[in-house]
Symmetry: C2
């Protein structure tokens, strides 16, 4: 089968044997995959990664023959817990110390004609949700994670910083939840997507309001964004830190302490609420798809995904 390979900051194609699912695992034929910022970071060498990337996908289960998933269109949670530890027992496989992660840590990714995942990781794509939307399940779940961690009341004013993929989804998810979202970004055309779901938007980095929000979601991917988040948060307010910034970030801890700000690190989330939101039709995803490529043009797809102004790039077998 055709498989995408990343090593030494380079994307290449390989012929690989179709994987044999271990007991408890499903063989999944890829329908569509999405390139995430993490994939670009893997390519850039931040994690010393070499292997097959891809963790946003929709596929059809083709084996084993006796699987209850056979023939079903599925998405899958990307963290594979050990299944034995305290955290796995608590449903927190995504914090299992021995986890592997689809396309990121020691489990071959979804950018190939076939992939495998434990059946317990699978979720059926709800009827009526197109696969081009379902492929957003994983990043939507990451946005929904905010609601699992922080109490956000109906009508609460929330600032989201950053109009990249994650910022746009966080804004839409919180707006759909009932918050009153103000999205701060740098691209008028991206802000328009969030505006379509009712978010208020602000273009540019000037005049960010000081001590103005009880909840600020930082999704800019930059250290400067985190500094802005601190300045924009009210005393006793909360910053949700969504975007991984590499290396150390300089933080004005004195302000965090004096204003008793809470900073909540936030990563992956549960798929169930994300699928429910997808079914609700409240999200605007079409405008977020910038381009599609066949797997065989993965190198061009990764190049496109790194262009300014581009949001989501999809891959199809």
């Amino acid at each position: 089968m055709l498989s995408v390979h990343i090593a030494d900051s380079h994307v290449s194609l390989r012929r690989a044997p179709r994987p044999l699912p271990k007991p408890g695992y499903a063989l999944i034929r890829l329908l569509v995959g999405g390139i995430c910022n993490t994939d670009i970071e893997l390519l850039r060498g931040y994690y010393g990664f070499a292997g097959r990337p891809g963790h946003e996908f929709v596929g059809v289960v083709e084996a084993p023959a006796d699987s209850k998933w056979l023939g079903k269109t599925v998405v899958g949670e990307i963290n594979l817990g050990c299944g034995k530890c305290e955290r796995c027992a608590a449903g927190l496989e995504r914090h299992c110390a021995r986890r592997t992660v689809l396309g990121i840590v020691k489990h071959p990714g979804a950018f190939a004609e076939y992939l495998t995942l434990p059946e317990r990781n699978l979720y059926a794509v709800p009827r009526g949700v197109p696969i081009e939307h379902a492929v957003f399940t994983e990043p939507i779940a990451a946005a929904c994670e905010i609601l699992d961690q922080v109490k956000i009341a109906q009508g609460a004013e929330v600032a989201v910083l950053g109009d990249g993929k994650l910022g746009l989804l966080c804004a839409q998810v919180l707006q759909a939840h009932g918050a009153s979202v103000q999205l701060y970004g740098r691209h008028a055309e991206k802000l328009r997507i969030a505006a379509g779901t009712g978010c208020a938007t602000s273009l540019g980095e000037r005049g960010l309001p000081a001590r103005a929000y009880d909840t600020v979601v930082e999704a800019t991917g930059s250290a400067a964004g985190f500094a802005s988040a601190i300045r924009m948060t009210r005393p006793r307010g909360t910053i949700v830190a969504k975007s991984t910034v590499h290396g150390n970030v300089e933080v004005d801890m004195a302000r965090v302490i004096v204003d008793e700000i809470t900073v909540v690190g936030s990563r992956c989330g549960r798929f169930a609420p994300a699928l429910q939101l997808l079914r609700s039709g409240k999200l605007r995803l079409d405008g977020m798809i910038s381009a599609e490529y066949p797997l065989s043009e993965a190198e061009a797809a990764f190049a496109k995904a790194q262009e300014r102004g581009v949001i989501k790039v999809l891959l199809r077998p």
Copy 2:
């Protein structure tokens, strides 16, 4: 009256007129004051402070003549809110944007023969609590603030980093609350004080356990301490940041996000729980008093408070 003055990194004595309390304010005769790290930071010029320091005190109310506090031995909350804003209405004067702060921000401090404070800031020292213990009310309240912000279950293992004044009080307060505290410090003689209240202790900076605690209290006052706190916290765990570090602190935000760590900035607290704890007799404070000086020797007292190994230095009129 005799008054201590700080300006240009220098402690001096002044003769000042006895203050006239405004309506709603009490005139308080100082019985004993305590030198806090913040006072030392004021002296070192971190805040461009010039004026009379002192915010840890016990005193006797001497005016106005019709005050219900007259003749009472009191301590007092140090934040003076505007009394009109949303935060003051919510009992959060200590986050009022227009607050003044006793001995810190635009309200003359307690290191003088007399001071004034709004009567609503006063609390009677409970019967049986010696004034040398009651003078710790403010920093004990700061330690109690942790329990107002973070849920800590009975028997929960909590690490406290730093065996300075604040670390020792945090450790004692959390142990008295029912947590199982492990205090990490650098001074055997200081650790012994906490051990006397049942805390387990660890001396030295080597071999700090990684991802070992759900709750870590950072009270070292150093950027390195915060980095240690991040390494010692379990996924989904909480770091309570107590000690103000000046300038920016380099934070491994990637770890905070991937492990979904929560960082809670924590400053001043309510006096009521602190006074209740003082009355309980569960805290060991005698060992924390390193020296006492008369107000007239304030310069020597400040010098002593900056010596290595010294914990609390008291001032008496």
